[in-house]
């Protein structure tokens, strides 16, 4: 087998494996987790009818979505109405291509495409995610979806700035945009949220923790805003906009929006994990070159971290109230943007001063 063929086959295996066997089941179980955790937070029991503890609920949900009538209202712009759900789902999943979700398994690096502009690729694809929502809002030809689409568009553009600026300190420190390098650096020097972990006596590490924590906070909040999660779920604020941009959608098309949101949550968490929480690294666990079992453990660690972050997403959703729209914009432009900007200078000063 020549190298090109084997490369194509291995890449396809990785894509199918990660997207269909991990991400999509994770998406459906994220819905289940959302319902279960929200129930437990609100002193309810949550889904417990289908299977033990309601564990087969996602399958039942999927059946329901597939069997419902796929209704297209008469007043919509047909072509774009059909296009929008795909545009909402695809970018959310595509982002995972550059994220290293494990070390190596049988000598194969566990990342689909290890390109040298990793994080920029993530932002580029994530910024395309807004089209699905904006087009859905516009094509529905109805006022509430339209308002939802407009809100979502302006919100995503606003928070993309903080998102992009928040990660600059990391790349100032590492000097490489490749996400595998980010993970490699964190293994050597301690996770980004604990930059002092590698070298306890060095004051630079302790000082660096300050900009890194700010980055982490700003980035995480911006991811909340980008994925339209509460407290930033203005685009689908039920009390104001009925269902927001997916008001006119039903059945599987609605499901695509719904699952796209969760897929975006998962990929967002994956990026946070990779950039700040050490990726697939867990202290004391060697990488995949020491045996395939460790490779599997690395992958498991990575997804366990994502699951922990998803829990935080859900936990926040069922704790905080929704922002008012002007507060949201103010927060994005006046607050986080400035913080992220100052943070870059702070990190640059520390890095130059200690010359790491």
């Amino acid at each position: 087998m020549n190298p090109t063929t084997s490369f194509v086959i291995i890449s396809l295996l990785k894509i199918v494996g990660i997207v269909f066997l991990v991400i999509l089941p994770m998406v459906s179980y994220a819905v289940y987790a959302e319902r279960k955790v929200s129930a437990l937070i609100q002193d309810r029991l949550g889904p417990n009818r289908v299977g033990p503890a309601g564990l087969f609920q996602p399958i039942a949900d999927a059946m329901k979505f597939l069997l419902k009538e796929d209704f297209t209202p008469a007043h919509v712009n047909k072509f774009y109405y059909w296009l929008a759900p795909c545009l909402a789902m695809v970018p959310a999943i595509t982002t995972i291509a550059v994220v290293p979700f494990g070390s190596t398994l049988f000598g194969v690096p566990m990342v689909i495409a290890d390109i040298n502009v990793g994080v920029l690729f993530v932002f580029a694809i994530a910024s395309l995610g807004v089209y699905g929502i904006v087009i859905a809002g516009w094509a529905s030809n109805s006022k509430y979806p339209f308002l939802g689409g407009v809100r979502s568009g302006s919100q995503m553009i606003s928070y993309e700035l903080s998102l992009g600026l928040a990660v600059v300190p990391i790349f100032l420190l590492i000097g490489n945009l490749r996400l595998t390098e980010v993970v490699r650096y964190q293994i050597d020097h301690g996770w980004m949220v604990f930059p002092f972990a590698g070298d306890w006596k060095n004051p630079a590490g302790w000082l660096l923790a300050v900009p890194m924590w700010i980055s982490f906070a700003v980035f995480a909040i911006a991811v909340f805003a980008e994925t339209n999660r509460l407290p930033f779920d203005l685009p689908e604020a039920e009390t104001e906009l009925v269902g927001g941009y997916h008001t006119e959608y039903s059945s599987m098309k609605f499901a695509l929006f719904f699952l796209g949101e969760y897929a975006a949550m998962i990929t967002g968490s994956a990026i946070i994990v990779t950039l700040f929480l050490g990726g697939w690294h867990f202290p004391g666990v060697p990488d995949g070159s020491h045996g395939w079992i460790f490779g599997l453990i690395n992958i498991f660690v990575f997804f366990a971290k994502i699951a922990a972050l998803l829990f935080i997403f859900i936990w926040v959703r069922f704790t905080l109230p929704r922002f008012r729209y002007d507060q949201l914009m103010r927060l994005g432009w006046v607050f986080f943007f400035e913080i992220a900007l100052v943070n870059i200078f702070l990190a640059a000063a520390i890095i130059t001063f200690f010359d790491r």
Partner: protein, 167 residues
């Protein structure tokens, strides 16, 4: 990159570029332009210029076109859709564009560069992010900073002008 991919993306770019002009619906035009940008970025990436390709998507497709789309949607431009096609203008414009194309092809074809074949790059997988950074902040640092200030001035100017009109 296999040449069929080049042709695929080139054709996608050309078709959607033409659709930008042909489409009567402004939103459809804007979306065609987005697809055109995506094809362009794919071509950049084929040349191992990942950075430029990604920036193409990030800035143009991801930010500029969203703002365009936004404004088109908010203005709700329907006049363009209703307007009848002016065949005279269509044929005239087509002829002008065609003559321009012929001219450009003739000029490029006559230069020495077109006949020359370039040797492959010394290191095709160079770290283009690093190289772009070094050039921008090394050789062209001053112009870069000046441009940045210029854009800042333009931004502030727009805000000042729009605020004055409000009053």
């Amino acid at each position: 990159m296999p040449s069929f991919l080049f042709w695929l993306f080139a054709i996608v770019m050309l078709v959607f570029g033409a659709l930008v002009v042909i489409n009567r619906n402004p939103i459809a035009s804007a979306l065609s332009l987005v697809v055109c940008f995506l094809g362009l970025s794919a071509l950049f990436m084929a040349l191992d210029a990942f950075f430029i390709g990604i920036i193409q998507v990030l800035v143009y497709a991801g930010a500029v076109m969203v703002l365009f789309l936004f404004i088109i949607m908010l203005l709700d431009l329907r006049a363009e859709e209703r307007r009848k096609m002016n065949w005279f203008a269509f044929v005239g414009g087509f002829l002008v564009a065609l003559s321009l194309l012929v001219q450009i092809l003739a000029v490029i074809g006559s230069t020495r560069m077109a006949k020359q074949t370039f040797p492959p790059l010394a290191s095709p997988h160079a770290d283009d992010v690093r190289n772009v950074g070094l050039v921008l902040f090394g050789n062209y640092n001053l112009p870069f900073q000046v441009i940045a200030v210029l854009i800042l001035v333009a931004t502030i100017g727009v805000i000042v002008l729009s605020k004055r009109q409000l009053r």
